[in-house]
Symmetry: C2
Subunit: 294 residues, 2 copies
């Protein structure tokens, strides 16, 4: 089965990349704007959100292609958030996905505008989607805006900036992750479920499922940070030898973080198994999130 | 009649301000984000776009209140564009509407995020509007995104940055204004027309009307800049005593700019009069745009 799942992921990543390129290509916009947008959009990303969306539609035995425009919108909003988060006035990062960040190449002004353009265009793509009903499109637009806007991803980034160099409690850390990455991951699953024809009850279960994998995704990220840096392993947690880095291993110890991760994955799988969907692919992705880069 | 029109404008400005405050108030978002959003949203603006929208609905004898959520979305997108345009990496302005710009008060990071939040939230407001049909809402979302996105306002701002310190032709200047301010002004009128029940033919005429008043608005802005600065009047056009300021008076002379403005207003009114709408209020606003601050 794994081979089959791997080829599903490859197939839809390729289709998505083609669709994203086409969506930018048709724009009547200044050359530098299209270049700046394309630069970040085509950088090698994991495409986790679109893949979750396609896999969820597949779990309902519907055609994943139905979610193509929504998948483009999701990846555009994710990309805009990376461009803006990397800016000097935010996280001030020079590298992203192995290449210089957008503002390092195009300058801050065009980087901000590329982000603004991607965010705005994503709503147009859904509104003009000819594969979905009007009701579906309006639900997707409202939920996407809620997940990405001042109550969602933007709130998470604000909290993240406020948390800089502060000692956080677990609740603060979870607020940041729940908003900054969790809400958009949840939208990816729920959008797929809606397009697949889920009932309200199924939507609720899948919302809990996606919250567990969102958390698992973040814990795994933090664990990889520790495992990736040999010097950090075994260092006393909370030691004041510099900035306090607020991560799950820092707050829970490395073993504690692994336990917390395991718990999320177990609960996510239990929810899936109770749903009686065609969920082999979603289970595979759940394991992938738990064990990636191992 | 003028008194009646003035009271219409006052009435709907007050209603809009209340609705904008309520829309921000209900958000479950970090305090500083709501403060940053509110700071720019409640700064004394002319509210030209919402007023044009309400006046156009009124011209079709429909209730202007039907456009309230769209008016909020319009003003939010206009405000986001001002916040981002004022950033140091863009126009680098310290003052806006008589008070310090958003990033001067809240810092660049929170200013960018306030803009991102406003832009995203605006689409949610339209998608959740209970006064309009699904078809109307999807049309409004698609057109608003097109007007504000990489083919619209964002394109204009990119062109504006590229034009800095360059000698422009009239065509370049018109590209910038048509995209940077014209497209959103046109949307204001067309959105009102759609909500008012306009036919395709009426929409086309009103699109031409709005393009003329958009251009008139910009020429008037440039003329006010000249009239407002006594030192500039009479200075040889195109003299190389510093940066070339690209404005209509600079390109056409002050009298030429006034003629160009007059032509736009005449054509706008001719189109309106041929439409046989209840357009007294729109005619009044057209005159206001031509003669404001005189």
């Amino acid at each position: 089965m794994t081979v089959q799942y791997e080829s599903f992921v490859e197939k839809y990543k390729t289709l998505l990349d083609k669709e994203l390129a086409a969506a930018v290509n048709v724009l009547e916009a200044p050359k530098v704007l299209k270049e700046s947008i394309t630069y970040s959009l085509t950088a090698k990303g994991k495409r986790i959100r679109p893949i979750l969306l396609f896999a969820t539609i597949d779990a309902f035995n519907e055609k994943p292609e139905l979610g193509m425009k929504t998948a483009c919108a999701l990846e555009m909003i994710h990309t805009y958030s990376l461009i803006h988060d990397d800016l000097p006035s935010m996280d001030d990062d020079d590298l992203r996905r192995g290449i210089p960040t957008n503002h390092k190449v195009f300058g801050e002004g065009f980087a901000i505008l590329a982000g603004d353009g991607l965010l705005t265009y994503s709503f147009q793509l859904i509104a003009e989607d000819s594969n979905l009903t009007d009701k579906q499109k309006l639900w997707l637009i409202a939920q996407l805006a809620k997940s990405a806007g001042p109550e969602g991803m933007v709130a998470g980034q604000v909290a993240d900036i406020q948390a800089e160099n502060k000692a956080l409690q677990l609740a603060d850390l979870e607020y940041i992750h729940h908003h900054k990455t969790g809400k958009l991951l949840t939208f990816s699953v729920l959008a797929g479920a809606l397009i697949g024809g889920a009932s309200d009850e199924q939507l609720q279960s899948l919302e809990r499922f996606s919250q567990h994998i969102g958390l698992a995704f973040q814990i795994r990220d933090d664990i990889l940070d520790v495992i990736g840096d040999q010097n950090v392993i075994g260092k006393p947690i909370g030691s004041d030898d510099g900035k306090l880095k607020c991560t799950y291993p820092a707050l829970l110890t490395l073993d504690g973080a692994k336990d917390h991760l395991h718990k999320q994955i177990t609960e996510a799988k239990t929810i899936l198994q109770q749903l009686n969907l065609n969920s082999g692919l979603l289970l595979y992705l759940t394991d992938l999130i738990a064990g990636r880069n191992n």
